[in-house]
Amino acid sequence: MNMMNVYLIAALAPLAGAVVAGLFGRRIGRAGSHWVTIIGVAVSMIASAVVFRDVMQGNLFNGTVYTWAAIAGIQLEIGFLIDQLSATMMLVVTSVSLMVHIYTIGYMADDPGYQRFFSYISLFTFAMMMLVMSNNFLQLFFGWEAVGLVSYLLIGFWYTRPTAIYANLKAFLVNRVGDFGFILGIALVFVYFGSLDYSEVFELAPGKAGDLVGSAIGVQWPLLTAICICLFVGAMGKSAQFPLHVWLPDSMEGPTPISALIHAATMVTAGIFMVARMSPLYEHSETALSLVLVVGAITALFMGLLGIVQTDIKRVVAYSTLSQLGYMTVALGASAYSVAIFHLMTHAFFKALLFLAAGSVIIGMHHDQDMRNMGGLRRRMPITWLVSLIGSLALIGFPFFAGFYSKESIIEAVQLSRTPGAGLAWIALTAGVFITALYSFRMYFMVFEGKPRYEAHEGTGAAHGDDAHGHHGPLNPHESPGVVWWPLVALAIPSVVIGAIAIEPLLFGGFFGDSIRVFAERDVVGTIGEHFHGWLAMGLHGFATLPFWLAMAGVALAWFLYLKRPDLPARIKQAALPLYTLLDQKYYMDRFNDWFFAGGARSLGRGLWRFGDMNIIDGVLVNGSARLVGWFAGIARKFQSGFVYHYAFTMIIGVFVLLTWWFLRI
């Protein structure tokens, strides 16, 4: 078959599913809707696998689907770039998406918006595919905004909840702040490269490395640095990097399946993917790389810290996602793009797993998400327990699990990197390992081990408004149905093995070919490769590294605090109240944003409207002119009194004035 058709099928099959389920959802019913969308995504996954095989055989593709617009000799096109990078992303996106689709059948079983939900997640898959398959900046922006739209719709899926519709507006607007930078970057590319096509731009990049971009105030910026920083602002929004991370924790208001798909595995990694895709540009700007590195390091450490004080199970996983995105970003900053993509991939599997497992727990707890009400679920939900343990071990980087290989590679890469800020980043990431283990196993112990706390505390599901299970009497958690746990098992397998399998080909086998470009002096991955002796050796060596022992210390501390001496956390909280409050308030960033940006914009708008529009323009200028005319007319009217002697008198005065003037002139 013509490969172009396969590409089109891979991209469009989910769209077809979304359209059918969206427009005819009521007619084809619930089962019809989930079948049509699942088939669409399955077809897309198979097509992606075919594409991946084809790419492995060396068949790359870069071509146009159609011309969007052509203006003054510049073609703006919709097209595909199929190479190792996009093929990998396609496979990750469709496989996680398929698992989430299947899982949703169970999770959303009683929701009245069932068809709508399936339509949205399929639409998301389409948008994400367009984003990763794009061969130009225009389509990248299309996909970029379209995934943002679906994210907005899904966070606000339960649209009657005030918190959900607050969160989705916030998510969209914070992302728009990122997009503001992103579009400026695209515009710079457009103007200085005269094209939006990746390959043309990358071709020209070396020649533009020394160019400057002028600005009105006389400051000259290196062109590529300006472009890279602007684009990275977009990535900060989409991939939730400090300080634009504020939307992601709130996005947990959406149903759990989309937290797994969109807010952990795929959409939030779009920024990581984008920077990796732009490696031919970023390599020319050490300043931009350094910024990427520092922002990533801040996110990795400080967002992890917040995970420690959360009590909502989904929010713990959300802060963990923020922190892991920080790790990926650091890898990008260290020019270890392939490692970032590697961690993106392993993270997609184990974090989707953790989210969906959390969802399974939430189903078991009748939609109560508070970990303080859980405990001892291991026996009640054995499968969920096992996969959660696997996911947690992968997350903390326990040797041989998927996360170990990718995280270890990131830390090594940063250690070797000479990009400014790498030293600090290394400290942040290494400390982050301890934090990660602490919050992960805090969650694990609170949920699955110890004494059950739900018996004393009957489900508060009603408070969440979507408790459709209609349970009565005491809470009796039990394992979720097969349609829920099967995807968990399917995700657990790669969470264990994908790291060991993929590390050698992906990082050291020249897998990415030309899709990722690294300058020789920054090629830290190559240096790591010199000491790499296979996955087994790396795994065994992993037991002797500093990060491993830090992780163990984190687990041990979590065990001590939450199983051995559960009375201690409360006392520590009392002892370090200011610190706890700072973390509990998320460094006061939400408060600040609400007050300064949201409140500030409203006050400014109100001021401009009341003062500028109503007082000055309308009050003084418009109605003032009207009044002036009125006043003038009022005076003029006095002359037309209708009394003859007034007119006669005026006439005499007039004659007198005229005569005087005439005489004086002579």
Binding site: Y66, T67, W68, A69, A70, I71, A72, I74, L138, F141, F142, E145, A146, L149, Y152, L153, G156, Y159, T160, P162, I165, L169, F172, L173, R176, V177, D179, F180, I183, L184, I186, A187, L188, F190, V191, V213, G214, S215, A216, I217, A601, R602, L604, G605, R606, L608, W609, G612, D613, I617, D618, L621, V622, A626
Partner: protein, 493 residues
């Protein structure tokens, strides 16, 4: 068509149809008036279609030209002709006329024939503006459009309609008086011609150019409207009936921008470039200042009106940066804004017809009762926020690309619309549509009916089609715009 000149048909057929509608008389014949109006509007749209199919996209200059002497004493001629820019606006106008006739179908119960006739006549007059190549003819049509709109607001408007109608009329009329002065100057300077094409070729000293530019500017800036002469628009929109708001936003505002393109730029190119920084500054103020003002509006119509001003800021910005992407973007933005703002006013109309309130605070949780409506409204809100895949994105994107080649800081200011546009539109959407049902009136709402689905559906398809595949539009504009820019680049001093 029928052996008639195509442009004359496009201009006079709606006017003629309007007169026929008037002849149906009182409200006893309301049904007949509606049907005649609908047939007239559709016929008006159909006769415009050959312009699209037969337009030659490869040659610059005017097409479908018609020329007849009209008032020979003053050398005023009945001279029509269009380029790609006029073509798109004519099609937009004819399409919108069909929609407003359908939109007023059941809502308008008093003086039906006059209401329908006003819109048809207005439509023909605006086609006249877009087709005129004679300055006097242009001016007559330009001014004449005020009358039907004045009547529409003044008769079928809200409680404060008289103030709004007068403000609208005086504001725009005072602005355009100076244009008349400028045209008389040009008439004398050209040795007795009103032909725009003569003016294009005529050298004019810079001082005179600047005066002429400012005179034009007084008329067109008010019409667009640009900050700070925009305050008539929110009042006019709030008081106008739904159909009036739709036409006002979709077409009438474009007369101003069209005036810049058809008169200011080619007749006084040096002054246009000389004063461009002023216009750009005002445009950017419109984007930022008005974006913030829109954020705090409590009245949906006012909010959309302010949003219109902000979006039109992009149009004037695109025009006055003098490059093909900016100008293309400006025209596409004009067309897109026609569909999107029209659609948003129709959406507010749908709600107003049911609740008789425009205040955001009176709503909340509409989606629970009107899911289909909420879907349409979401699409148009997103288009207003410039989401890619909708028409709203195309113009903004092209203007931003074009602006970057002029100045980074201009672009920075313009791109804030990504944030403000989303903020005011989606915040309004959230408060009106999302949430629990807030009161009994919302609880009693019924979803859109077949007629409303037809209108909103047509608009939705158009908005998506342009967003996904704008090439047909940009192809029509291409040669006209490069031709115009080449002309502007040559000094006339």
């Amino acid at each position: 068509m029928f052996g008639l000149a195509p442009l004359s048909t496009v201009v006079w057929l709606p006017i003629f149809a309007g007169i026929v509608v008037l002849l149906t008389g009182s409200d006893r014949n309301a049904a007949m008036a509606r049907w005649v109006a609908l047939i007239g509007a559709i016929a008006g749209f159909v006769v415009a279609l050959p312009l699209w199919t037969e337009f030659d996209r490869t040659v610059p200059g005017m097409q479908f030209e018609e020329f007849r002497p009209w008032i020979e004493t003053f050398n005023i001629n009945y001279h029509f002709g269009i380029d790609g820019i006029s073509l798109l606006l004519i099609l937009l106008n004819c399409f919108t006329t069909v929609l407003v006739v359908i939109a007023g179908w059941t809502v308008i119960r008093e003086r039906v024939s006059q209401y329908m006739a006003a819109f048809l006549i207005l439509s023909g007059m605006m086609n006249g503006v877009f087709s005129s190549l004679d300055a006097a003819l242009f001016y007559v049509f330009f001014e004449a459009t005020l009358i039907p709109m004045f009547i529409i607001i003044g008769v079928w408007g809200g409680p404060n309609r008289v103030y709004a109608a007068l403000k609208f009329f005086l504001y725009t009329f005072l602005g355009s008086l100076l244009t008349l002065v400028a045209l008389i100057y040009l008439y004398n300077a050209s040795g007795g011609s009103f032909s725009l094409l003569d003016y294009y070729a005529m050298p004019i000293p810079l001082a005179a150019q600047i005066l002429v530019f400012l005179a034009f500017f007084a008329a067109f800036a008010v019409k667009v409207p640009m900050w700070p002469v925009h305050t008539w628009l929110p009042d006019a929109h709030v008081e106008a009936p739904t159909g009036g708001s739709v036409v006002l936003a979709a077409i009438m505002l474009k007369l101003g921008a069209y005036g810049f393109i058809r008169l200011s730029l080619p007749i006084v190119p040096d002054a246009s470039q000389y004063l461009a920084p002023l216009v750009i500054a005002l445009s950017l103020i419109a984007v930022v200042y008005i974006g913030l003002v829109a954020l705090v509006q409590a009245d949906m119509k006012k909010l959309i009106a302010y949003s219109s001003i902000s979006h039109m800021g992009f149009v004037t910005l695109g025009i006055f940066i003098f490059n093909p992407h900016g100008l293309q973007g400006a025209v596409v933005q004009m067309v897109s804004h026609g569909f999107v703002s029209g659609a948003l006013f129709l959406c507010v109309g749908v709600l107003y017809d049911r609740m008789h309130s425009r205040m955001i605070a009176d709503y909340g949780g509409v989606v629970n009762r009107m899911p289909v409506f909420a879907t349409f409204f979401m699409l148009f809100a997103m288009a207003n926020a410039g989401l890619p895949g909708t028409s709203g994105f195309v113009g903004e994107f092209l203007v931003i690309m074009g602006t970057m080649s002029v100045n980074f800081w201009y672009t920075l200011a313009a791109a804030t619309t990504l944030i403000f546009g989303a903020a005011y539109t989606l915040w309004m959407y959230k408060r009106v549509v999302f949430g629990e049902v807030t009161n009994d009136k919302v609880s009693a709402l019924s979803d859109v009916n077949g007629r409303e689905i037809l209108i909103l559906g047509l608009l939705a398809l158009t908005v998506l089609a342009i967003g996904i595949y704008p090439k047909p539009l940009t192809d029509v504009l291409g040669v006209s715009i490069t031709g115009l820019l080449e002309h502007v680049a040559v000094s006339k001093l």
